[in-house]
Amino acid sequence: MQKPAEIVVDQITKDYGRFRAVDHISFEVSKGSVVGFLGPNGAGKTTTIRMLTCYMPPTSGRASVAGYDVFSQSLQVRENIGYLPESTPLYHEMRVGEYLDYRGKLRGMPRAQRRQRIGEVAERCWLGDRLRWLVGNLSKGYRQRLGIADALLHNPPVLVLDEPTVGLDPSQIREARRLIAELAGQHTVLLSTHILSEVELVCQRVIIIGRGRILAQGTPDELKQQGAQRGGGSRLLVEVRGPADQIKSAIAALPGVQDAKILGGGPVASFEITGKVEAALREQIAATVVGRGWALREMRTAGMSLEEFFVQITDPGRSGERSDGGREAA
């Protein structure tokens, strides 16, 4: 049984003049889950988020957050949402604590509650030692944390974070991910990003959009499986010591092999084999290689990474070329 949906988007559309930025998108986010919202630049991520946070009304369609309609119950929606905009705009002349206090007042929090919550979120976002700093003097990473602290301030059931880890250094990114993972359960989180490893680490579900439409949604594993099916099977990486050309033609001649590509030459050649990579084929390849007197050094199957799936689905023209460089090693 699925948990009740906290965010419901139903056939939402947004036109900017003649340009259709978001085209009849529908999805649901269940309570307490962390959902990654992926898409290339200009896919309509921010536009969708802006409609959910009541920054702009949809051209058509409906959406509700925490049970309130974004159009007719906009104030209640905004009370129940914590939103970190993409560029984290802040007032640079204010001090960190003062800014949080101001934001608390805008949300109608009484003084005692403001004081208590500021302490809590400052600790949670590692801002404790910066409360008296001027916002303008903070580094990009600290501003980002302040933005997250602001979004958390009123302890909203729904959090919408638009690229929260942009501008953070690697250790801060890890901290931020840990924070987001901690938030799951108590809060429903919609996380927009284009860093795919982030999604695999923190999100239970992924929604991929491109050119204003939903291209795929599911758990990261489901998507990888989908990708493997669409991509016509997975790949086999083989490393053999011997003459590259001969090995290649020998392998390519085997039944079930669609294509064999030489990845690296030299005394030890490596190949990428696509086709129906089943156990029988692997055994056959091994037998062929060994039977011809070459030395089989390594053989492994490589599934499709979320990144490859993302590229395949958002940019069909380039799905053929796989990012070969260091992907297999990763």
Binding site: Y16, R50, T53, C54, Y55, M56, P57, L75, Q76, R78, E79, I81, Y83, P85, S87, P89, L90, Y91, E93, M94, Y102, R103, K105, L106, R107, G108, D150
Partner: protein
């Protein structure tokens, strides 16, 4: 209400955090100080700060645009409008908060000239009621000027454009109507009813004629209504601009 006051408080503080607020304050005090020392603090003249108060509109036309230019323009330019718009605030709370903030700074500005009234106290015994009504008139005038500035700030994301357009509008409101009616009045025959009517209207929408009464201690409801309806008109237009921006 808490939200409106929070926004107003932030606006006033922002003006005092930045050099701009102090520059405006300095220019204002210089101007009023000159008026005071040349017009009032002379041997044999009346102990009456009336002329000093009455001439405030001359400088305010140039200073108020600087107070109001950033109100919305800067929010648009920096993207903070997104933060404001996604906070649980109504449009009216937002506009009114910005308006009160700028008006608050304006009031501080105007009240800083009370120093000169205190100086006058050392030399004579000025009549207090007209001074009081004079300041009331200044605050009413400030409401109109600030709402004009607020309107233009909501129109543009460039502070300079906002300041220039509100300054020109205020100048026209303050001067042109009066000047035109003075220049044209002698040539318009009393029988040309339509043109007479136009001149009357121009005379009525001018700011300057509505300020003189207060400084003399006369609180004319026509003047009060003029400033209140004028501010309401520009605040309502600001509301329309803000709402239409949301739909773009």
């Amino acid at each position: 209400m808490l939200r409106t006051l929070a926004i107003a408080g932030r606006e006033i503080k922002a003006l005092f955090y930045a050099p701009l607020g102090y520059i405006v304050l300095t220019i204002y005090l210089l101007f009023v100080g000159l008026l005071f020392s040349l017009q009032i603090l002379r041997p044999g003249s009346l102990a009456d700060p009336g002329p000093m108060i009455a001439m405030n509109h001359l400088i305010m036309v140039f200073l108020v645009p600087f107070i109001t230019m950033a109100l919305f323009s800067e929010e648009y330019r920096s993207g903070r409008i997104e933060v404001l718009r996604t906070s649980p605030l109504t449009e009216v709370e937002l506009i009114f908060g910005k308006f009160l903030g700028a008006l608050g700074f304006y009031t501080v500005l105007v009240l800083s000239s009370v120093v000169f009234v205190l100086i006058l106290l050392a030399f004579g015994r000025p009549d207090f009621p007209p001074i009081f009504t004079g300041y009331v008139g200044l605050v009413l005038m400030g409401m109109l000027m600030v709402s004009v500035g607020l309107f233009f700030s909501a129109l543009s994301q460039h502070q300079v454009v906002a300041a220039m357009s509100s300054c020109i509008t205020l100048l026209v409101l303050d001067w042109l109507a009066t000047v035109l009616s003075f220049l044209l009045r002698p040539y318009v025959k009393p029988s040309w009813h339509f043109l007479q009517g136009v001149l009357n209207v121009l005379g009525y929408i001018a700011i300057e004629p509505h300020t003189t009464g207060f400084a003399r201690g006369v609180v004319d409801t026509r003047d009060v209504v003029y400033f209140l309806t004028g501010s309401f008109l520009f605040l309502a237009m600001t509301y329309v601009v803000m709402e239409s921006r949301r739909w773009r």
